[in-house]
């Protein structure tokens, strides 16, 4: 058997699944003693160019409480044309179309390499995708212009038969009718009054109209177009119209007096968007895309008042319970998010402003519906423009990398029941953390040598409007934690575990005080070290961790310092933004977020990854740091001097020019690939933006241990934060302590 590392990688590539433990403890008690929970990261729509979907429907277990899908792990009696469900052990008859199956003639879903398989559902009407733009008009002129251009551009990227709609808002909310000729028409709503979905539909005339006048004009064709057609139109029909409409879009005309914020009715606008889709296209693929350039300042969902002298809430205010509008606003957006999720739609938030925009309150809209959240300084930045463009990028098949109305169902041996979640929006990198509980009691453990199976069933609407079901069935061995601890230990996936623990931590941080979360995280780490470390009691120097655990404490160290758990220096919006992305990126990206990657460029050799440590900051190096959200290029002191002297322009120093260019090229590559586009920072020794680098590296040298000051060994960081060394030392001490 290959190493676990290879096994894990294979599994991830094939099924998009990574477990914290690849051998499962056989009882509940054992599982809890493992400290790191039995959990997995699942990327349900992992791109699988090698996996063409099958054009038929899955075979389901006939037991109504089970409904598991036929998979390679099922036992099949080819003669009797029976199969046994490996979850509930129900014996099922194959459907008539399967009469010809035999050992040599198996359907794809029974072949082991199709542990993940995708079915295309042929039944049911197919609805076009829906994109509803919700656009803030309280923007600066050039911001609005840039946004308008981006939106106009996006029309050309949409599938031609997709339906688009436009809602604009400022002090009022306008729902634009798109089908009109000659005169542009919109329905206008007060920005301060929340309306129920029913009211919205009534006011927009979306309720089925009685047709008393029909007889009066018999000449008219009787066909009744879709009631919503006025507001949602196929792109190919109205792209000219809509382009003009967007072009004529004016800034919110209501005067904003000195010392006031513009009145922005984001809450009502979103409510109307949700209500519009709710009534007309429930359970179809729809994206509400909210573009906002500032905080909601009036009506339901307002986050801050319009007086500029009262600043928007900070973490400080929140801790002091001083955020007047936060609870109410959050409740409003949660209500909207829940309704949206129920309808299978999703909400994207594109917030571009220098100050906060209320992402903290609105985050649930994106979080609960699988929408995107993008934060930037202005719509007039490449960060927004390219990120937005990337949303409409296409995969190898020319399909959009987005899925709608997704639900995930997990079937698991030993539980018997099923669990379902509504995810709505999904993209190929969306990754879910799923935490399991072993329910077998300690005195009746799962029999040795058995295999536990889990089936993930993801139903979604593909961007081609097809309804699809992706089924992944995996199995892992059960092991008795007492006798086979080494097995279990060896099957530990520390990367997955770190991310899963981090997700738990972030989840807790949403509702608990920061220090509590850190304490919990520390305790978990200590317990893990106690459980799996090799040491002599009360002797820290004897402490060892096996290879499969070796990196874990380091991840935890950086996690503690990460913006996901530390709110210091971050606004509530930024925290929400970081956490949002952390909770949905795949394992690799998540690890970058926890522990940024640092590359060093020098004349001494090819670029190499170096320790994220202050000792890596050297005068004759160029550093490239990738924190997922930021790409920082940092030029060492000497490099800066060289550049100032203009060596790069001298033909004889061409290599220096190449050296300067290399990190830029690499950075571009990352920028191109990533969503959302990271902030790109090009700085140098002594530059103000160097702080982005300095705040991330491990402060191995600080003003407190000045021995390295001014030496070639790196740059001291002016911080009181503990360094990794100190952290690990403490950890060892605590792990071996019997008092703990």
């Amino acid at each position: 058997m290959a190493t676990y590392l290879e096994f894990i990688q294979q599994n991830e590539e094939r099924d998009g699944v990574r477990f914290s433990w690849n051998v499962w403890p056989s009882s509940r008690l054992e599982a809890t003693r493992m400290v790191v929970p039995l959990a997995c990261l699942l990327t349900p729509l992992k791109e699988r160019p090698d996996l063409p979907p099958v054009q038929y429907e899955p075979v389901l277990c006939s037991r109504t409480t089970c409904r598991a899908i036929l998979n390679p792990l099922c036992q099949v009696d080819y003669r009797a044309k029976l199969w046994a469900c490996n979850f509930c052990f129900q014996r099922n008859q194959f459907p008539p179309v399967y009469t010809c199956i035999s050992e040599v003639n198996q359907p794809a879903e029974l072949m082991p390499q199709f542990s993940t398989i995708e079915y295309v559902i042929q039944r049911g009407a197919q609805y076009p995708l829906i994109f509803l733009y919700v656009v803030d008009t309280c923007l600066e002129e050039d911001d609005l212009q840039a946004l308008k251009e981006s939106l106009q551009m996006s029309l050309s990227l949409l599938p031609p038969d997709a339906l688009v709609g436009l809602i604009t808002f400022g002090r009022m909310v306008q729902v634009h009718e798109l089908s009109c000729e000659r005169i542009s028409k919109s329905y206008v709503f007060r920005g301060t009054k929340d309306l129920t979905a029913k009211q919205i539909q009534d006011m927009l005339g979306l309720t089925k109209p009685a047709m008393p006048m029909q007889q009066a004009r018999p000449g008219q064709p009787q066909e009744q177009p879709l009631v919503s057609s006025r507001f949602l139109q196929p792109v190919h029909k109205i792209d000219m119209n809509l382009t003009d409409l967007l072009g004529e879009l004016q800034r919110d005309p209501w005067p904003v007096t000195q010392g006031k914020r513009p009145l922005r009715s984001t809450g009502v606008a979103l409510s109307i968007a949700v209500g519009l889709l709710e009534g007309t296209f429930p359970n179809t693929g729809a994206r509400i895309m909210l573009f906002t350039g500032g905080p909601p300042t009036q009506g339901p969902g307002m986050v801050v008042g319009d007086e500029l002298k009262v600043p928007i809430r900070s973490w400080h205010d929140i801790e002091k319970d001083n955020a007047r509008f936060m609870k109410k606003a959050t409740k409003h957006y949660e209500m909207l998010a829940n309704r949206t999720a129920t309808n299978g739609h999703c909400i994207d938030i594109y917030a571009c402003a220098l100050d906060q925009t209320g992402l903290l309150e609105m985050k649930c809209c994106a979080n609960l519906t699988g929408g995107h959240m993008v934060m930037g300084d202005s719509f007039n930045t490449s960060l927004f423009k390219q990120t937005f463009q990337k949303i409409f990028s296409k995969d190898f098949n020319g399909d959009f990398r987005m899925a709608f109305g997704a639900t995930l169902e997990v079937k698991e041996l030993g539980v018997g029941g099923t669990s379902q979640w509504k995810i709505c929006g999904l993209d190929p990198t969306s990754t879910l953390g799923i935490y399991f509980e072993v329910v077998s009691q300690h005195n009746a453990p799962v029999p040795q040598g058995g295999r536990g199976a889990i089936q993930y069933v993801t139903r979604y609407q593909h961007s081609s409007t097809q309804r699809r079901i992706r089924v992944t069935t995996i199995a892992r061995n059960w092991a008795d934690a007492q006798s086979q601890l080494r097995h279990i230990e060896a099957a530990f996936d520390q990367e997955a575990a770190a991310v899963l623990m981090a997700r738990l931590g972030v989840f807790r941080a949403e509702s608990e005080e920061g220090p509590d979360v850190l304490r919990w995280l520390d305790r978990q780490l200590i317990r893990l070290c106690q459980k799996f470390g090799q040491y002599n009691k009360e002797d820290p120097t004897s402490f060892r961790l096996s290879d499969s655990f070796s990196l874990y404490p380091q991840f935890m160290f950086h996690l503690r310092r990460s913006p996901f758990l530390q709110v210091f220096n971050n606004s509530p919006d930024e925290s929400s933004y970081y956490r949002h992305h952390f909770a949905r990126q795949d394992l690799t990206q998540s690890l970058i977020m926890i522990q940024p990657i640092l590359y060093s460029y020098s004349f001494h050799g090819p670029p190499e990854p170096v320790l994220l440590d202050s000792s890596s900051i050297l005068a004759d190096r160029i550093l490239l740091m990738d924190t997922f959200f930021q790409i920082v290029i940092y030029l060492g002191e000497t490099i800066v001097q060289w550049r100032k002297a203009g060596y790069q322009d001298m033909p004889e120093y061409e290599n220096f020019r190449h050296l300067l260019q290399a990190p830029l090229d690499d950075a571009q590559e990352i920028l191109q690939a990533r969503f959302p586009m990271p902030r790109y920072i090009n700085t140098e020794h002594g530059g103000s933006q160097a702080r982005f680098l300095l705040s991330k590296v491990n402060p191995s040298q600080t003003h407190n241990n000045l021995y390295a000051w001014g030496q070639e060994t790196g740059a001291p960081i002016l911080t009181d934060d503990v360094s990794l060394q100190v952290f690990v030392d403490h950890l060892k001490k605590l792990a071996v302590s019997s008092a703990c």
Partner: protein, 964 residues
């Protein structure tokens, strides 16, 4: 109701006719017997009074009638008698008395009545048109004087049916009665020997008229209609004596010429009668005296009245930052009544007698008679009317006002689209917007315009000049209307002309497929008001509406038209608004200077009483076109619209009427809103709107000082200037009742009576109101008889010269459909007329209640002048003639059945009477070429049209089998 006073016994004299006799017109006629409203008023209701000549019918100049004919006159209060007589007169006019040739509709409700009272218990009671009389063909046109028939009448019922006009005609002749020719002997017998001219001197009376005495009872049945004082004669007489002259307003208490008389008015210290007219120009000195006479003390003020071009427009006084000079105590404005003393350093206020310092900037020396040297240089010292430029203190929030805005709000529901109205309005707006009113010195109008269409939702339009095409914003939240856009809604017409034209072209098409039947109304007004509020300017909403607003929204109305309420104490409910939404809306509108003008195009009941409330309280105008038909009514409507847009108007106005000590203004009637007892607030006031103010004593008045009235109107001009318009008027005071009666003006009295009665309609049963009117009239006359006239026979009715036609006019008022309900007159029409009268000036109300009847067939084709009007009575209509009847609201053309074919040919271009159809009305007014006869007739009608801008409907009636 303010005018009712308990009538004390005033002697036993039974009223008897005694009047100077005018020239007797040929043919018997009884004036003012109109309409068939008798149902429910059987003559038996009027027993008791001794047989007298009806007040109106006895016009023999003072004849010692035979007292024997009046049994125990002393036993009854003369007032009561007069009252009974008046009401008898009034009621009888609806009775069966009138039996002109013609057929009554079978089963006419009045028929049984006709039979019943034919044997009245008191045969001696003289009731004009009494049942026993062979009545002359007196039934006048129904419309004029009472209630002009809405055109709907003849349209709705498709014409062949009996129209109310003639419904009255009672075919049967009573035994012993003859028609037509039979009159002369009776008439002759009717009048006793002539008396020598009465002791009352009637300046401008009818010299040489045969004086007749009221005949003996058995003869009194036969009244000579010509013996009734003729309004025509009175008008002609005043014209003859004062017409074409210069009337200078330099004398206190001077009674001006009648409204019907053309003359040039020169302001010499008192406001022109065009601005203020009083019921009397001599106030009684004490309140006791006022109570005794019961003559209402009132002024009808029309502050923005149009002045003919040959009279001087108002001067504008500008004191710069100092603002107008005002009395420190009562805040009266500087005017000719201020007395300068102490060498010009101080002045005594003529209103409150407070002595004020003259502000330094205003100081001027006095001449030898104590007049300032600059007396004739300063309009405020020498003129009755002038304007001040107001300072910022007089502005809202101390900010100069913005120029007003006009917002056009068009009902685009199915019916309006279908009948082409929307298209018509949109087309017309393109033209009229070119003619927005502007200040004289300005090149373009400062008025901004905005557009809203609506059915059960509202559509706002952005017509900003830089847009390629208009933008429409649909407001569906009618429950809580707001203004969805600021910039681009109210625009300068010139700047946005192309976008506006684009919009007006599109509106009819945009809603061409609309099936929407339901409309909202209150939210429409609300939206306009909010828009003006947001733009911080006053303005006017032009609403074009056609149906009962039944859509779910504030101000939603239901059809509550209930004929069963008629003639019950609950009838007043029909005149009250259905919900108080409109009341509070009107209040808001006034508070923000938002005037609402409503054009109504109803095809059925729309609840004018509710819909019209806001227009009325905000100084707007209500126009109503029943069953609007493009080819018939569009010209009419367009003229109204043009006039309304172009007419002189002031916005955001507050009027204050100050008086000298001893009396004060107590009650106000008109298109006004009052938050307190003194400030008359008007969102706007235009040149056609008058406010009637009633005065009461609160102390004695001195004969020397007289009674002074100052009316100040603070308003915003169409150019956005804040101004004060001041009108001053001085009246005499006297402790002699005769002086009081001598200075009365009947036209103003009727205006006052009409408005106070129409206001009371909301709160009191109509019967009570009618009684009050009758009693007060009787009381006024009785008081005169008792105190001013020489002793005369109790049977004689003695009328002061100034009130000669009061009974006639009062009768007209009593017969107006507001005060007297008839089932065939729609509730909406009554509410409409009620509202219309409330803002009328004296000239309008005079014409409205006593319409002009022009014998077209006597037209001199070579002359451009109109034929002389004749007395407005049905008996004056001859079968050979063609008559035009106009009351300022409607015009009726009446064709006699034997009108000369050449006239018919000339006018209608059809060979004979039988070929004429009602549709030809439009031909009638459209043709301007060809035939001379037609030409003249047209010019006659159009001249009339121009003179009376409010002329509304033109209805054609043919006299043929009653109606067609």
């Amino acid at each position: 109701m303010s005018m009712m006073k308990p009538a004390g016994p005033l002697g036993a004299a039974a009223p008897g006719g005694m009047l100077p006799q005018g020239p007797s017109p040929p043919g018997p006629h009884q004036f003012g017997q109109n309409g068939a409203h008798a149902q429910g008023h059987p003559p038996q209701r009027f027993p008791g009074p001794p047989p007298v000549n009806s007040a109106v019918s006895s016009y023999a100049p003072y004849s010692p009638s035979t007292p024997s004919s009046y049994p125990s006159p002393a036993s009854t209060s003369s007032i009561a008698q007069l009252g009974h007589q008046l009401s008898a007169m009034h009621v009888n006019s609806y009775g069966s008395g009138m039996a002109p040739p013609g057929q009554g509709p079978p089963g006419s409700p009045s028929a049984p009545l006709f039979q019943g009272p034919s044997q009245p218990p008191q045969p001696s009671i003289m009731q004009p048109g009494s049942q026993v009389l062979p009545p002359p063909p007196t039934t006048a046109l129904n419309g004029p004087g009472a209630s002009p028939l809405p055109p709907s009448m003849h349209r709705q019922d498709g014409l062949p049916g009996p129209a109310p006009l003639n419904a009255q005609y009672q075919p049967p002749l009573l035994p012993g009665q003859t028609l037509g020719t039979g009159y002369s002997p009776q008439q002759a017998a009717n009048y006793g020997p002539q008396m020598a001219g009465g002791q009352l001197s009637y300046p401008g009376g009818f010299p040489g008229g045969p004086a007749q005495m009221a005949g003996p009872p058995q003869l009194q049945k036969k009244l000579d209609p010509d013996s009734i004082p003729s309004p025509i004669q009175v008008i002609e007489n005043d014209r003859a004596t004062r017409g074409g002259q210069v009337y200078a307003t330099n004398t206190r208490g001077q009674v001006p010429p009648l409204v019907t008389t053309d003359c040039v008015i020169q302001d010499q210290g008192n406001a022109s009668p065009r601005y203020i007219r009083c019921t009397t120009y001599c106030f009684p000195c004490t309140s006791d005296m006022a109570k005794q006479a019961q003559i209402p003390l009132a002024a009808v003020i029309k502050p923005f009245a149009t002045i003919p071009s040959n009279e001087t427009p108002l001067y504008l006084v500008n004191h710069g930052e100092n603002g107008p000079v005002r009395c420190n105590r009562c805040k009266a404005y500087m005017c000719p009544f201020m007395q300068f003393i102490e060498g010009g350093r101080r002045y005594q206020c003529g209103f409150c007698n407070c002595v004020n310092d003259v502000p330094p900037f205003y100081f001027q020396h006095l001449d030898h008679i104590g007049r300032r040297l600059d007396h004739y240089e300063k309009p405020e010292l020498s003129l009755g009317s002038y304007e001040y430029v107001a300072t910022l203190d007089y502005c809202r929030k101390n900010k100069p006002p913005s120029p007003p805005a006009f917002i056009f709000m068009i009902d685009v529901s199915y019916s309006n689209i279908k009948n082409g109205l929307v298209k018509l309005i949109c087309e017309e707006l393109k033209t009229v917007l070119e003619k927005l009113p502007k200040e004289e010195q300005e090149e373009t109008s400062a008025i901004r315009v905005g557009f809203i269409t609506y059915n059960k939702v509202l559509h706002f339009f952005n017509v900003k000049s830089n847009l390629a095409q208009p933008q429409m914003m649909v407001m569906t939240d009618v429950g809580e209307v707001f203004v969805p856009l600021l910039d681009g809604f109210l625009v300068n017409y010139q700047d946005s002309q192309s976008v506006i034209h684009n919009l007006l072209d599109q509106i009819p098409e945009m809603f061409a497929d609309s099936n929407e039947n339901e409309t909202v109304f209150a939210p429409v007004i609300q939206a306009g008001m909010e828009a003006l509020k947001a733009a911080d300017c006053p303005g006017k909403l032009f609403i074009f509406h056609s149906s009962l607003p039944t859509a779910e929204a504030p101000g939603k109305l239901k059809n509550r038209d209930d004929k069963k309420l008629i003639n019950t104490d609950k009838e007043k409910i029909l005149f009250q608004p259905q919900t108080n939404v409109y009341d509070s809306l009107a209040k808001d509108c006034v508070a923000h200077g938002c005037c609402v003008t409503l054009f109504l195009f109803p095809s059925q009941y729309v609840d004018v009483a509710s819909l019209g409330l806001v227009p009325q309280l905000t100084g707007g105008t209500l126009y109503k076109y029943n069953n609007f038909q493009m080819h018939m009514d569009s010209q009419q409507f367009l003229n109204d619209l043009r006039n309304d847009i172009e007419k002189k108007i002031g916005f955001d106005a507050i009027m204050r009427v100050r008086t000298s000590t001893g009396f004060r203004a107590t009650d106000f009637f008109g298109g006004i809103f009052m938050n307190n007892t003194t400030d008359v607030e008007m969102a706007a006031i235009d040149c056609d709107k008058a406010v009637t103010v009633e005065f009461k004593h609160d102390d004695k008045l001195g004969e020397d000082s007289g009674a002074l009235i100052q009316c100040a109107v603070l308003y915003t001009t169409i150019g956005g200037q804040r101004r004060l318009r001041i009108h001053n008027l001085s009246l005499n005071c006297s402790s002699q009742l005769a002086d009081l009666y001598k200075s009365c003006e009947t036209d103003a009295l009727i205006n006052f009576f009409a408005k106070s009665a129409f206001k009371a309609v909301l709160h009191q049963p109509l019967k009570v109101i009618r009684e009050i009117l009758v009693n007060q009239t009787a009381h006024m006359l009785a008081c005169y008889r008792k105190n001013c006239a020489s002793p005369s026979a109790a049977s004689q009715l003695i009328l002061p010269d100034s009130m000669k036609v009061l009974p006639v006019y009062m009768n007209c008022l009593l017969k107006n459909c507001v005060l007297l309900s008839r089932p065939e007159i729609s509730t909406d029409e009554r509410a409409y007329q009620r509202q219309l009268v409330m803002t009328m000036g004296v000239a309008d109300s005079q014409l409205f209640f006593y319409p002009q009847l022009l014998p077209i067939h006597t037209l001199d084709v070579k002359s451009t002048t109109l034929p002389a009007a004749i007395r407005c009575s049905e008996s004056r209509l001859s079968e050979e003639g063609i008559f035009l009847l106009a009351n300022g609201l409607n015009m009726f053309l009446w064709l006699g059945v034997s009108s000369p074919p050449e006239l018919i040919q000339g006018i209608f271009n059809v060979p004979s009477f039988a070929h004429v159809s009602t549709d030809m009305v439009s031909i009638f007014f459209r043709c301007f070429c060809g035939n001379v006869q037609r030409n003249v007739l047209c010019s006659c009608a159009t001249t009339y049209y121009k003179v009376k801008k409010t002329v509304r409907h033109i209805v054609l009636y043919k006299k043929e089998n009653l109606m067609f």
